[in-house]
């Protein structure tokens, strides 16, 4: 798990993909990218999200999540989570999950599971910044 200041760049994403490809036992990569949506909230567009994290606990919980998924699926080769902190504009990427496995079934299932666990277990909060610079903490 890595916490990135600001948006996750396409360069960082392709670096992850290239690195995943160096293992010739891999047959399948499943990726999830979360992107900041230009939602309309009470007539105003979201122009950015500011993420804050309890970083030490995020790292600890992420380790638990990664271990539990690794032990649940026996075909996995590697797991990677990147999450932004700080300001990420609408249209930019704030979450990358990549699961590499020997075969497609487990890559896809494990990636879907990781995304849910990230939402559920990692102490990260988002505040929406609207186009008029007003702010709104996202409630669950």
């Amino acid at each position: 798990m890595r916490i990135i200041e600001g948006p996750i760049s396409p360069a960082a994403i392709s670096e992850i993909v290239v690195r995943g490809g160096t293992n010739t036992d891999s047959g399948a990569h499943s990726l999830f990218l979360g992107q900041v949506r230009k939602d309309l909230i009470k007539g105003k567009y979201v122009k950015a999200i500011e993420y804050s994290a309890y970083e030490e606990m995020v790292m600890m919980e992420a380790n638990k999540i990664l271990k539990s998924v690794m032990s649940e699926f026996n075909d996995l080769i590697s797991l990677e989570i990147l999450h932004s902190k700080g300001l990420v504009n609408a249209g930019e990427i704030s979450l990358v999950v990549m699961v590499t496995a020997g075969h497609r079934e487990q890559a896809i299932k494990a990636c879907a599971k990781l995304v849910e666990l990230i939402k559920d277990k990692l102490p990260i909060w988002k505040k929406e910044i609207l186009e008029d610079d007003s702010e709104k903490w996202k409630q669950e």
Binding site: Y54, E56, L95, K119, L122, P123, W125, K126, Q139
Partner: protein, 77 residues
């Protein structure tokens, strides 16, 4: 005991701070009452509490210099 308390998400606005240091704390309940006295508005929000990065449900034993975190529902991902 001395206890470091962290506030996250919307609770940083309710308390006006991200971090507050408490001295002379006798127990977890004692800490919770002190925090409620300092920031009465906090009772209007849902939150979970972690001690040293672990979520606690009952009243745990606190030790000197423990870190206590007040965390609203997670909204990351």
């Amino acid at each position: 005991m001395e206890i470091n308390v962290l506030f996250f998400g919307v609770l940083t606005e309710v308390t006006g701070t991200h971090r507050k240091h408490y001295r002379g704390i006798r127990s977890f309940s004692d800490l919770k009452y002190r925090i409620r006295d300092d920031f009465p508005g906090i009772e209007n929000y849902n939150f979970r509490i972690a001690v040293n990065n672990r979520i606690v449900n009952e009243d745990p034993v606190l030790n000197d210099n423990d870190e206590v975190a007040y965390m609203p529902p997670f909204t990351g991902g």
